[in-house]
């Protein structure tokens, strides 16, 4: 297993930073999560450049990687914990601090800069808080992008953005920029996410830039030493490794500073043992080397989440076009009508995920940016005015959009055509909204057009005796003409006959 473990310096609050680093390196940690604080590389004290450079050298000597954390309690305001946040009236103070953190992270060669939203102040209404958060994160992300250090935004229980769902909403509001990633605290997942921790890891994998780890109990936001909470760690570590996560997995125990060296030692022993326990699975992955593409483990037919598609497009050389396009659509959904047709010219047509070319993935992500109240109307218009590739992209993205069954008319239009690309795309997961008669007609049309039935989502489950009768009719006509059914249709017919007793 290739996981790299780190430890948060906020769990060494009673140590000099240089001493904490030495202890952690001696114990065998791979890196540290450095919380900038008044006693740990104070970004407001004199001689910052010299201290940063000295620290960079020290980290290199010790062989420690680093991520920069910005969750210090009383760094900006000695009286109010965590204040001001990006949500406060004095939010510029927080933003200035975060921009300093980006600059420091860049100088340190850090892997990410982590931050959170903070708790919404009672005097700031939710809409204003949201607008401030989006604006602050956009400016931070722009700086981080220029500096080449990703932002890891961390959902934190009790804060304005407290879970993965909130992170996704924020991510989309920002236009899914590449430089805006996720810091995932695995204890938080146990505390409040609806899914098991390992599933949270799988879902979040494409955007993970930083991971924090500790034990926790359901519903109680208290960072616990390993073994004191409810998390079963081997499957979680397995999920991280399987997802190809290469960043630090940093122990986050800020309330254990009183016994930091012992806690750090016990923690690493525990994590190594847990990683070892998932070792049988490690052998499997060793047989298939190379980083697994995100989303590859999903069941066939399911459509990857927009975040997964966006992440898969990260390697496409589009000169930043998609980042800019998504940002513009987030700000003004109507501009999608001119950006949508250009996606193939800008992003190319290479396959970025199994079954997804760059142009279709980019178009799906653009569609996913649309606000719920505009999605159906815009999708219809883009389909109506699209060329065949645009139409196909709309059809394939429908399961990702908040349109319910309202776009089923697009499937009827596509199935009416004689274009194999459109008919095939109409029979994906969204075809669940087709009534049985229309669906059967479409499947039989595939047989006529020579379209492989593998494009038909849920075929095995949905095929019924009526479909069998229709296929048998086709087979009879073909036999009369001295021709055969395509092999996949013949196999389906044979299976249905056996199962349904026809």
């Amino acid at each position: 297993m290739n996981l790299r473990f780190g430890y948060g310096t906020n769990g060494f609050a009673n140590h000099r930073l240089s001493d904490a680093l030495a202890v952690l390196a001696d114990l065998g940690y791979d890196g540290v999560a450095l919380t900038l604080d008044h006693h740990h590389l104070d970004p407001y004290a004199p001689g910052l450049a010299r201290r940063v450079s000295g620290l960079a050298t020290r980290l290199m000597e010790l062989g420690l990687s680093v991520v920069v954390e910005t969750g210090a309690r009383y760094l900006l305001d000695p009286r109010r914990k965590h204040a001001p946040t990006l949500l406060h009236d004095e939010r510029e103070v927080r933003l200035d601090f975060l921009l300093r953190a980006v600059s420091i992270a860049s100088d340190l060669g850090a892997e990410a800069v982590s931050c959170w939203s903070g708790v919404r102040p009672p005097a700031v209404d939710a809409q204003l808080a949201w607008d401030r958060l989006v604006d602050g994160c956009a400016r931070l992300t722009e700086a981080a992008s220029k500096a080449g250090v990703p932002v890891g935004f961390e959902p934190e229980p009790g804060m304005f953005v407290q879970d993965l769902s909130g992170w996704r909403t924020l991510h989309r509001a920002l236009g899914m920029p590449r430089a805006f990633g996720l810091t995932l605290d695995l204890g938080h997942c146990r505390c409040l996410e609806p899914e098991p921790v390992a599933d949270c890891v799988v879902a979040a994998a494409p955007w993970l830039v930083n991971v924090q780890i500790e034990d926790m109990r359901r519903g109680v936001h208290e960072h616990l030493e390993f073994g004191e909470g409810e998390i079963d760690f081997p499957p979680v570590l397995r999920a991280l490794a399987d997802a190809g996560y290469r960043g630090l997995v940093g122990v986050e125990l800020p309330r254990h500073s009183h016994a930091a060296p012992d806690v750090a030692r016990r923690s690493l022993t525990f994590l190594r043992a847990a990683a070892g326990q998932s070792g049988t699975a490690t052998d499997r992955s060793a047989a298939a080397p190379g980083m697994r593409a995100p989303g590859q483990r999903r069941p066939a037919g399911a459509v990857p989440a927009p975040e997964v598609l966006r992440a898969a497009l990260a390697g496409v050389d589009d000169g930043g076009w998609l980042d800019e396009a998504l940002r513009r659509v987030a700000a003004d959904p109507s501009v999608i009508s001119r950006l949508f047709p250009a996606a193939a010219r800008r992003c190319g047509r290479a396959e970025v995920l199994p079954g997804w070319t760059a142009d279709e993935a980019a178009r799906a992500v653009l569609l996913a940016m649309l606000p719920a109240e505009r999605a159906a109307v815009q999708a219809r218009a883009l389909y109506r005015h699209g060329d065949a590739a645009e139409k196909r992209a709309v059809l394939r993205a429908l399961p990702l959009l908040p349109v319910g069954a309202s776009a089923v008319e697009l499937l009827h239009d596509a199935i009416r055509t004689n274009d194999t690309r459109l008919v095939a795309a109409a029979l994906g997961p969204y075809a669940a909204h087709l009534d049985a008669a229309a669906w059967r007609q479409a499947v039989v049309k595939c047989v006529f057009m020579g379209i492989a039935l593998s494009c038909v989502d849920d075929l095995d489950h949905r095929a019924d005796s009526e479909l069998a009768a229709m296929l048998a009719g086709v087979a009879d006509e073909r036999h009369a003409a001295g021709r055969e059914l395509p092999a996949d249709a013949a196999a389906l017919l044979a299976r249905l006959k056996a199962e349904k007793g026809i």
Binding site: S337, R338, P341, A342, A344, R345, H385, D387, A388, A389, K391, T417, N418, D419, T420, R421, G450, I451
Partner: protein
């Protein structure tokens, strides 16, 4: 012989034509939007026609291993019909499409004030969308129509190297030769140009910026006359490289200025027979 027909109305042709064209070496075509022989009466007919040019027709062509691109415009004949004026508002939407490699056919039919408006407006669109322009020259009063077209092109500010003046002949070729515009010649069974006459023009004016097309449509025409012209060139002593320049590299260079010409795999010498359906259905 690899052939790129830079002007052919495949909507009007049968799959037999596609098959014969593929067999003759045609690997890529551009289909300009024009009229259909019978006047259209509403913008809706144009929308469906344009949709076919960027949807169904490329699919059909793909089944025979032929790359299909289009040019989009309100044509000069129907620019005179007040029922079709709104088509000008439809055109920009199509100029964003991947398979649209120029604005066209624009230009003159009867040289009316309404044609002036549509011509100038669509040249401006070509500049705005950074696309080349395909200019049709009129059948009647051709010399004056060609001269006036050149004046309008000049006024528009578009780079003449991004404009083709089409349907030229012995009488109009001199007007265009030194303007920097490309020269288009439509080879027809009886009218317009014939292969031997075309060869003579190539001998006299060289192969630079010369485009040869069949302009085949719903009238009496022949999509294989590009091939026949290539053969006539060879018979007259032109080399294979000259033929390749006129019938392939020139149209690639002209429409390539759109940045949207997709000829991946199409210009390789491989025969497409046997895998045409797969390519079309991809």
């Amino acid at each position: 012989m690899r052939i790129f027909d830079p002007h052919v109305h495949m909507t009007s042709r049968t799959t037999d034509d596609y098959e014969a064209m593929a067999a003759a070496g045609v690997r890529a075509v551009v289909e300009p939007a024009f009229w259909l022989g019978q006047p259209r009466t509403s913008p809706g007919s144009f929308a469906d026609y344009f949709d076919a040019l960027i949807g169904w027709e490329p699919f059909r062509a793909g089944q025979f291993g032929i790359r299909h691109h289009a040019t989009i415009a309100l044509n000069p004949k129907e620019a005179n019909d007040p029922r079709c004026r709104e088509v000008l508002e439809l055109v920009p939407r199509y100029l964003d499409k991947d398979a649209v490699v120029a604005v066209g056919e624009i230009g003159y039919d009867s040289m009316t004030p309404l044609e002036d408006i549509a011509f100038a407006a669509q040249l401006a669109l070509a500049v705005e969308f950074d696309l080349p322009a395909l200019v049709h020259t009129p059948h009647r009063d051709k010399v004056r129509g060609t001269q006036r077209s050149l004046d309008v092109v000049k006024e528009s500010g578009i780079d003449p190297g991004r404009v083709v003046i089409d349907h030229l002949n012995e009488v109009t070729v001199e007007l265009v030769r030194d303007t920097g515009c490309w020269l288009g010649f439509s080879i027809y069974p009886d009218t317009k140009m014939s292969p031997p006459r075309m060869v003579e023009l190539l001998r006299r004016h060289g192969t630079e910026r010369m485009l040869v097309n069949s302009a085949a449509d719903w009238g009496r025409s022949d999509p294989l006359l590009t091939r026949r012209t290539g053969e006539a060139m060879l018979a007259a002593g032109f080399g294979a490289d000259d033929v390749d320049r006129v019938l392939w590299r020139n149209p690639v260079e002209f429409y390539g200025q759109s940045g949207r010409l997709d000829l991946s795999d199409a210009d390789s010498p491989a025969d497409f027979a046997g895998n045409s359906i797969k390519r079309g259905g991809a």
